[in-house]
């Protein structure tokens, strides 16, 4: 799995909508694994990202605050892939990067506040040692 701390840089350098979709899935995989869940391989409405989001929101209703961000990422993926030669494809890709980045910032921020994941002084191994 891609380390969480590497995802932001990868989003910023992603050159295709497929890469961004996969990075969005990676963000949600981190959320699920931090909660002791096995990330689903199933799809919802044709997208694993949406299935992962739904799985991540089970028992955690505030996680729905990123539901539309996930859907926007899927929307931009469709926009770009359905008409890659469109004059606005470059702009759409820049916006898709921002949408993916928002998903990363929201989820990683939430994990940090909740004390989940591997973050500097709130790193899970350190907390485990001190408890």
């Amino acid at each position: 799995m891609i380390p969480l701390n590497d995802i932001e840089a990868r989003i910023e350098s992603a050159e295709t909508a497929s890469e961004l979709l996969a990075l969005g899935e990676a963000v949600l995989e981190h959320w699920l694994e931090a909660h002791g869940k096995n990330p689903t391989a199933t799809k919802r409405e044709g997208f694993r990202l949406l299935a992962l989001h739904r799985q991540g929101a089970q028992g955690e209703p505030s996680f729905n605050a990123c539901r539309e961000t996930c859907r926007e990422l899927v929307y931009h993926y469709n926009l770009i892939n359905l008409d890659p030669e469109h004059s606005e494809t470059a702009k759409r890709l820049r916006l898709a990067r921002m949408v993916a980045k928002h998903l990363f910032l929201f989820v990683s921020g939430k994990m940090e506040v909740d004390g989940l994941g591997e973050f500097c002084c709130s790193s899970r191994p350190l907390r485990a040692q001190s408890s």
Binding site: P61, N64, A65, C66, R67, E68, T69, R71, E72, Y75, H76, K91, R94, L95, M98, V99, K101, H102, L105, F106, S108, G109, E112, V113
Partner: protein, 308 residues
């Protein structure tokens, strides 16, 4: 125009008394200009916001129910208008809990008796947002008729934040098709400002989180979230972000400055309440709309666009 919502009980809430005072000023100003009457709820209290709700959700239900009880039982209203997303959300949540959770109803009854006021009964009040108020009481045609300074040529990203439409089950009137509001793609603010002449841009983060809840505990996360919202608005072609939540609004303004000072990244997009933009279109002076109270300075932009 309909007669619905011509006179409503007004619940400004704590934010509009403090950091969101400009929203309070501009909401009252456009109400007056449009001939809509607002009667402030007497002796109102905090809705329970995030702090109380996180510790004791039933106490939040009681606090919100007291506001609705006063409006219904002491003032005789059947509608409360709350411009703040947090207040609007909490009153809606209290309404839902009282109708569906007998334990919440018991707690509210006990605390209301102790506090010495009538217990609020589910169904007495319809809580609406300022967007519902303008959209239903005036409507797009009504706005078009009243516009004195069209917002023509002004590119706007409409930002609704995350509490206006979530969770879906407490907003049964939304997602009903036709002209109803959508929880996934809200459009009431877009409709209102378009009627005032604005050019709405496709903004992909219109319901995304502004990091408001992290502002004190993790300012850097909030700044990064806001910076991304601002940059996405600029990438979408917007000159202005229109807001309808005091927490989102102050977060966007403050973290716009913080992004520049802490990360060295400057964004130019202006941040104005939708009530301020609508007020300008109705020909009201910026000062009447509290624009001088905003943290970010939009006066140069407003003058450049011929709105002042």
């Amino acid at each position: 125009m309909t007669t619905k919502y011509k006179e409503v009980a007004y619940y400004p809430g704590c934010a509009l008394d403090g950091s969101g005072h400009a929203y309070n000023t501009s909401t009252k100003a456009i109400g007056k200009s449009l001939g809509l009457k607002l009667k402030e709820v007497k002796d109102w209290n905090c809705c329970g916001a995030m702090e109380v709700k996180n510790i004791d959700p039933k106490l939040q239900t009681y606090l919100s129910s007291r506001v609705m009880s006063i409006a219904a039982n002491e003032m005789g209203f059947d509608t409360v208008m709350a411009p703040c997303n947090g207040c609007y959300h909490n009153l809606k949540k209290a309404e839902y809990d009282l109708a569906n959770d007998s334990e919440s109803a018991d707690v509210v009854e006990r605390l209301s008796e102790k506090a010495g006021h009538d217990t609020y009964q589910a169904g007495q009040i319809e809580t609406i947002h300022a967007l519902d108020w303008i959209k239903d009481a005036i409507g797009e045609d009504g706005i078009r008729e009243r516009v004195k300074n069209s917002l023509k040529g002004i590119k706007v990203a409409n930002y609704y934040g995350c509490m206006y439409t979530r969770p879906r089950h407490i907003f049964p009137e939304k997602d009903q098709g036709g002209a109803s509001e959508s929880t996934s793609q809200p459009h009431f603010m877009d409709d209102i400002l378009e009627a005032a002449g604005a050019e709405n841009v496709d903004y992909p983060l219109k319901t995304a989180c502004c990091g408001g809840a992290h502002t004190l505990s993790d300012s850097d996360t909030s700044t990064k979230l806001v910076l991304n919202l601002l940059q996405a608005a600029e990438e979408s072609g917007a000159e202005v972000i229109a807001t309808e939540c005091p927490t989102c609004h102050s977060g966007l303004e403050m973290h716009q400055i913080r992004a520049e000072t802490n990360f060295g990244i400057k964004t130019k997009v202006k941040v104005l309440y939708f009530t301020q933009l609508l007020g300008l279109a109705l020909g009201l002076k910026p000062r009447k709309l509290g624009i001088h109270e905003n943290v970010s300075d939009s006066m140069g932009f407003i003058k450049e666009k011929g709105l002042a």
